[in-house]
Amino acid sequence: MVYFYAFLFCGLVCLIGQLILDNTKLTPGHVTSLFVVVGALLEFFSIYDKILIYAGAGASVPITSFGHSLCHAALLRAKEEGIMGLFMGMFDLTCSGITAAIVFSFFLSLIFKPKS
């Protein structure tokens, strides 16, 4: 069942993104930025954690989960260490993704040549 919900949720997020791309003049950069803010907003209302239970990894793949993870990690740390925890814990959950993206794109760009 989790596969079905993963398909549905991830598909729906992409569908909304495509509808925005087709019907407005916003670029993909605008849409991804918008979705990250929406993810953080959903975390504020504690909705995203419930979606994660049903859709599993399907909910952690769209870019909305990036905003959710940033906000979630900052709040977790803030509960332990007070207001400074917001600054200290911001990247606790997303560091793996950012690090992987930096490392892989650095080394792979040394190997590959730009096409076009």
Partner: protein, 146 residues
């Protein structure tokens, strides 16, 4: 008058974008990405006997690696052209935007090319993510007292 004619001519000859097709493809490909991530998570947690949280991290790192590799090989641009938002919104699109910026500015050198331009496209996601997460986190902290 001529300007008007030109405008109608351009409008007539522009390739018509089939929005229904675009939406369907984005929904289907995006859904497949979610299923793929869930498959990888289950596979990793079964193979290495790790918790679901660790397996999810592994799966996301795998998708980022695939996104970078396919961009380097030149396939990903064609796939994005076909699937649009279906590949831009998932995390592989984030990796794609970083990798394509790095590749594009590679010829300008290691520091001024790769180092300075790596976050040219992906930086906006991080900036607005951190700013909004800080704002909503602060609001949550003040209202609910941490």
């Amino acid at each position: 008058m001529i300007k008007q004619e030109y405008k109608t001519l351009v409008k007539k000859n522009l390739p018509k974008e089939n929005r229904l097709r675009n939406s369907f493809v984005a929904f289907f490909i995006g859904g497949l990405m979610g299923v793929l991530a869930q498959l990888l998570t289950d596979l990793y947690s079964y193979l290495f006997e790790i918790t679901v949280t660790q397996a999810t991290t592994f799966a996301i790192v795998t998708l980022i690696f695939l996104g970078c590799l396919l961009t380097g090989l030149g396939f990903f641009d064609k796939m994005v052209h076909f699937a649009r938002a279906g590949l831009i919104i998932p995390i592989a699109g984030f990796a794609h935007s970083m990798m394509s910026a790095t590749l594009e500015y590679k010829k300008e050198g290691l520091v001024t090319g790769i180092g300075a331009n790596m976050f040219k496209l992906a930086g906006t996601v991080i900036v607005y993510g951190v700013v909004s997460a800080f704002f909503f986190g602060l609001l949550n902290y003040i209202i609910f007292g941490g």
